[in-house]
Amino acid sequence: MGREPAGSPAAGRGDETRSRILAAAMESFARHGFDGTSVRSIARKCGLSDAAVFYYFPTKRHLLEALWEEAPSGGFPANGEASPLTADRLRELVVATMRISARNFTFLRLVAREALRSDATAVALRNASRARWRAALFEHFRSCGPRAGELVDVFMAAVTGYLLRLEIEHGDAYPEAVLDPSVQQRVAEAVQRLIPARHLHAAT
């Protein structure tokens, strides 16, 4: 799902309407779940006709995918030069993941809830997002040799465990909790202990 072509005649206003629909959809999904929200109710909320919403998003699935793909994921460290993994880099990867999960908390929480109810769309969105996370992480672990993939799995399991636990303990206050530097430090140190240390390059 891309944005409308930039050169289309009403690009400016179209973008604004599109964002308005997405914001209304997000609110409705969060309140009533994916199944419990109709495209019609989203249209009404925006003061638009059903047809206007369908113009931008032919199905509810399109809406969800747009929400997912436009979720801000920037700030995740890249590893273009394929430099070796260090303890510092591990901490950066943990902290970047925590920041992104705080920024997207409303949507991530919704997807997790719906996935637990076996909503097929939510499961597919979650799997796609984890695949992206895994690919981004793998760039950093590549230098770890033949078992790099397994180490990425361990990293993901640990971070998933710590973050879901924070969500259980903090509920709505999850974003503040994961942005707390002392919490970030605790999770980062745990992951540094977990990933076999003598194979990390000496930290700076």
Binding site: A115, L116, N127, R147, V154, A157, V159, G161, I168, H199
Partner: protein, 160 residues
């Protein structure tokens, strides 16, 4: 629907569990491990810890219900997690002591508890009711034991 699946009558279910919440509370059980949580060597510790996780893998459906309730803020489900963690901490401390593990048991337990929870939770989120079958696959069992070895500091697999 529960009565149907259990092959009993509705009144029978209501007799034992007057409300749906009573039924939920009956799920708050302690794990029953296939082996006692004791070990005399590090390798044995990995095996025992893996077998302890197997109980949860087999009962992934329970983990799924609990996670849903815990994320919803249900106090009983969250207390169940806290009690389980405390019990697990005691068991792991004994296993590590028996195995002569040189590290800080509290730190190792913290790693084990969160990493293995993460694996279990990820499986129930990704596979729903099929999670128990997926977790029983050799590739997953291997992954769990690899994570345990990492947490115990027994792995050395990064070829730096």
């Amino acid at each position: 629907m529960i009565a149907n699946r259990a092959g009993v009558s509705d009144p029978a279910v209501h007799y034992y569990f007057p409300t749906k919440y009573d039924l939920f509370r009956a799920l708050l059980v302690e794990p029953e491990y296939a082996v006692p949580p004791v070990a005399h060597s590090l390798e044995e510790a990995v095996e025992v810890l893996g077998t302890m996780f197997d109980w949860w893998a087999e009962n992934a459906a329970l983990a799924r219900v609990m996670l849903a309730q815990q994320l919803r803020g249900d106090a009983d489900a969250i207390a169940y997690l806290h009690d389980g963690e405390e019990r697990y901490r005691g068991e792991v401390a004994r296993i590590l002591a028996g195995a002569g593990h040189p590290g800080d048991p509290a730190a190792v337990t913290d790693l084990l508890f969160h990493t293995l929870s993460g694996m279990l939770w990820d499986a129930v989120l990704a596979y729903g009711n099929a999670a128990a079958d997926i977790l029983a696959q050799p590739v997953f069992r291997e992954r769990v034991r690899f994570a345990i070895r990492c947490a115990l500091g027994l792995e050395a697999c990064c070829g730096a």
